[in-house]
Symmetry: C2
Subunit: 276 residues, 2 copies
Amino acid sequence: MSRPTMMPASQHAAGAFDIGSALSVRLACRSGALKGTTSGLAPGFVQGNLAILPADLAGDFLRFCQANPRPCPIIGVSDVGSPLVPVLGRDLDIRTDFPGYRVWENGELVAETGDVGQYWRDDLVSFVIGCSLSFEEALLDEGIPLRHVERGLRVPMFRTSIDCVPAGPFSGPMVVSMRPLKAAHAIRAIQVTSRFPAVHGAPVHIGDPALIGIRDVSQPDYGDAVEVLPGELPVFWACGVTPQSVIAKVKPPFAITHAPGCMLVTDRRNTEFAVI
Amino acid sequence: MSRPTMMPASQHAAGAFDIGSALSVRLACRSGALKGTTSGLAPGFVQGNLAILPADLAGDFLRFCQANPRPCPIIGVSDVGSPLVPVLGRDLDIRTDFPGYRVWENGELVAETGDVGQYWRDDLVSFVIGCSLSFEEALLDEGIPLRHVERGLRVPMFRTSIDCVPAGPFSGPMVVSMRPLKAAHAIRAIQVTSRFPAVHGAPVHIGDPALIGIRDVSQPDYGDAVEVLPGELPVFWACGVTPQSVIAKVKPPFAITHAPGCMLVTDRRNTEFAVI
């Protein structure tokens, strides 16, 4: 692999597990050997974000995601109380297979842990949500440079003036990620990411940030600042931080999310998610 | 048809022929009943631009077009000396089936006529080149507004600093057409026109006109000026005027082109040219 990764593999306990295999990454999470980011691990395999909610909120949250597929593309949902999501991996265990979790009560962070077994409840429903790593891999494969990747930064993310379609208690602004691109790369990036509607799809905006309520593109609300150089356009994609920010606003009695950068590595291949 | 056309049908001798049929438009050209633009006629059918050159230049011109498929998408070529292009229409006669022609000698316009039969030579090769009307129809079908269409103007066109790939004596800058669009429409337009690589395909540039050598976007080199409103991006597509401007530079001993706006209506449907 000559492709740049979001974080050098050397920051992981390389050798402790096979970074080329989705199952081996999950097993490393399960054993505690991997506690850091999954970015750059198991290239080619879909990674997912996590939202776990009690069943009495899960229906509304599912409706919210289905009404807002660009920021909230669901790639797997568990049965009530089940820690399994077989569509994403045969032996996958949602309680242990992320490197890190955050546990929330009434909107307050109550624990950060690598195993949520002790917090498990029979009424929990797990949502695994598609992640921009999938389409970034496709962009890098096309030779489109991504500045935050080249500089080892997190992608800059912004709250926008675009309102999500509300469902039950869930509502709020769409969060977007921004990648500065030259025009020709922006056009190609629109083509490439249009093939991946299940992982955010095409951009939601291009050009003037103020038109979607972003006052200062050098001051992201999440992630790291990445400069837009002369001759580049800022290109904005709907972002998987949206559902987390919406959940934070609702302050549910109980919720679990993944820790930032600590995604689930699934057995699905990114290429499977291309519609063409 | 509620779709806006580039020129009101009432400007044509409506009733003299069936504007819904490609063959009837060609027959109206052949009989001399139609002398004006073909814009808006025979909706759904591909229209083409024309370049006719002597055989000793045709090989280089064909190489030029194949090296520059975005501005010069060839949709049909005749045999040497033949006025027929059967792939575009069963009975099509290239000498009579355009409403108007321009005849050139050494780069000078020597005649403007509705029938080039008297100029025909056994060494001529005819090139029919795809036209933006095809993708504009697809954009309008998507509900994407096109200002020049709404205002009954010709699309604004610009010489750029993008050099075409030269072939033999043929070389020169790419000419582009510009359509101002809101960001969401621009993104959708990139998706829609990407389906039509045989008729210019996706845009070649979006945003700052200066980056492709356009000093003043309100001063087109061809066509009519169309304003870019606040909140809009100028979107630039490779334009079929490119091959004509390249031929004009070479000043071949003899050439025939279509008169502006007077295209060939073929039996091929625009939808046939969509790759997906």
